[in-house]
Amino acid sequence: MIPHAASALRMLAQRIMMSVLPEVKSAYVAADGAMVSMLLTALSSELESGVANRVSDIEEMKAILARYSDRVENPEELLSLTPASFRLTEVNRVHDLLTRALILLHETVEVENVSEAQANINREIFVYLHDHAERHKLSI
């Protein structure tokens, strides 16, 4: 059987909130317990979709870097980056490398008196950043 870790975490969080905390007398422990429960819920969501969200980021960042490869250092190396596995640390490694490259590209297109082409790249990067933030949002 493949354990359903994300839903298990979600159920544990609910159990803490609904069954354990109402029995707690200390206001401090109750509030701390609620925070632990919320953290478990967030972890459940991250467990479910964290890798997929990062992979989407990676694809979108590579698409931007490919379109403007003439402005990027070592584009071949960057664009060939692919996680060697779906382990989170490996996906994060690739995500970080591409994010750093994106930051450098962003820096070159936001100076004063930018050309229309630069403004368009700036806009594309911001569209990506909005999408990235939306994908990684924490539902509370």
Binding site: A31, T99, H106, L129, H132
Partner: protein
């Protein structure tokens, strides 16, 4: 004695000995309660009998780590300097550096009774009354002479032209030191701030540093009874506090009400009236972006403390995660050419 967190029972035993020595009177502890949310210091409310008379005190104990790397002497000194003014703060009683008592340095303040921090139950009239007081007090703070109050002995006195860059460099440094992953939104905001530095401060003011709903105690009957949490206090541009107080993060669920109390324009009008200062909208936008970066730095730092094992406090992990997410989205709405104006807006 180790420096890990203490239970209320441990605090009861140790603080009674300390207070007995300080006051030279009999002290009987009646109840010790740990207060949730004191993310920068462990906070305990202590009810006791001093020579038979009921007294309430609040203990703020330094943790091994916290959301904010702060100076207890500065915080205590700020309380002592502000206490005689007409800005209400709890009376500071003792500052103790010797770890023999509670394993860590700590301060003791008088308890502010019959008061709360949660504004969610206020009706519209109550929100307006507390909001009016909140920004009027902040305006008064901005108008004060920090040197006359002795703040030059507590903290650095920057030139009015240096305030903006000093804050920017400090919080940029915190992000650089504590980030786990590259932060493209914070980086974009920091570059924008560097390119658009504002005019010098019109005056050097006491900046509370964390002036927001939740950091003052009030009663519905008598209004604001104490402004709390001065640990990020410094001297600087008064627009910094005003911008922080209006950050959309403190308006969660009620985006039209700054700090869940008043429309932002009304808050600014009251502040201007009370401080005698005028808000330059262009410069003020710079400060709004700056405080969003500052908040982001605090959330990133809190996550780092949790993940590195400096603290096991769930609030550090959860606040770090949720607030980083929200603050990133606020910054995007401020700076992006394709702003969705969902979590913040360039115009107030």
């Amino acid at each position: 004695m180790n420096s890990e967190t203490l239970t209320p029972d441990q605090v009861a035993d140790r603080i009674s000995a300390f207070l007995r020595e300080q006051w030279g009177q009999d002290v009987q502890i009646q109840q010790v309660e740990k207060i949730f949310g004191g993310a920068s210091r462990e906070t305990f409310r202590v009810s006791l009998l001093r020579a038979g008379e009921p007294v309430g005190v609040v203990i703020r104990r330094d943790p091994p780590t916290s959301l904010i790397d702060t100076e207890r002497k500065l915080e205590y000194g700020a309380y002592a300097a502000i206490y005689p003014t007409d800005i209400p703060v709890p009376e500071p009683l003792f500052l103790e550096d010797d770890p023999k008592w509670l394993g860590q340095p700590f301060s003791v303040m008088s308890e502010v009774t019959d008061a709360q921090t949660d504004v969610s139950a206020l009706d519209e009239a109550g929100r307006m009354r507390i909001g009016e007081q909140k920004w009027r007090l902040l305006g008064k703070l901005a108008a004060m002479d920090p040197i006359a109050l002795g703040f030059d002995e507590l903290t650095e006195v920057p030139g009015v032209e240096a305030c903006a860059l000093r804050e920017l460099e400090y919080w940029t440094g915190v992000i650089a030191k504590d980030q786990f992953h590259p932060e493209p939104i914070a980086e974009a905001a920091i570059r924008w701030l560097r390119r658009n530095l504002p005019a010098p401060a019109v005056k050097l003011s006491i900046v509370h540093g964390d002036y927001r709903t939740g950091n003052f105690l009030f009663s519905e009957q008598t209004g604001i009874k104490a402004v709390l949490d001065w640990e990020m206090c410094h001297l600087g541009n008064p627009l910094e506090d005003l911008a922080w107080s209006l950050d959309p993060l403190w308006s969660w669920g009620t985006p039209e009400l700054a700090g869940r109390l008043l429309p932002p324009h009304e808050a600014i009008r009251i502040w201007e009236e009370s401080s005698g200062l005028k808000v330059d909208i262009k410069d003020f936008f710079w400060w709004r972006v700056l405080v969003a970066v500052k908040a982001l730095a605090i959330w990133i730092s809190s996550s780092e403390d949790f993940h590195n094992g400096n603290s096991r406090d769930a609030i550090l992990a959860y606040a770090g995660w949720a607030m980083t997410d929200r603050q990133n989205r606020i910054l995007l709405d401020y700076l992006s050419p394709v702003s969705r104006n969902e979590f913040g807006s360039r115009t107030l």
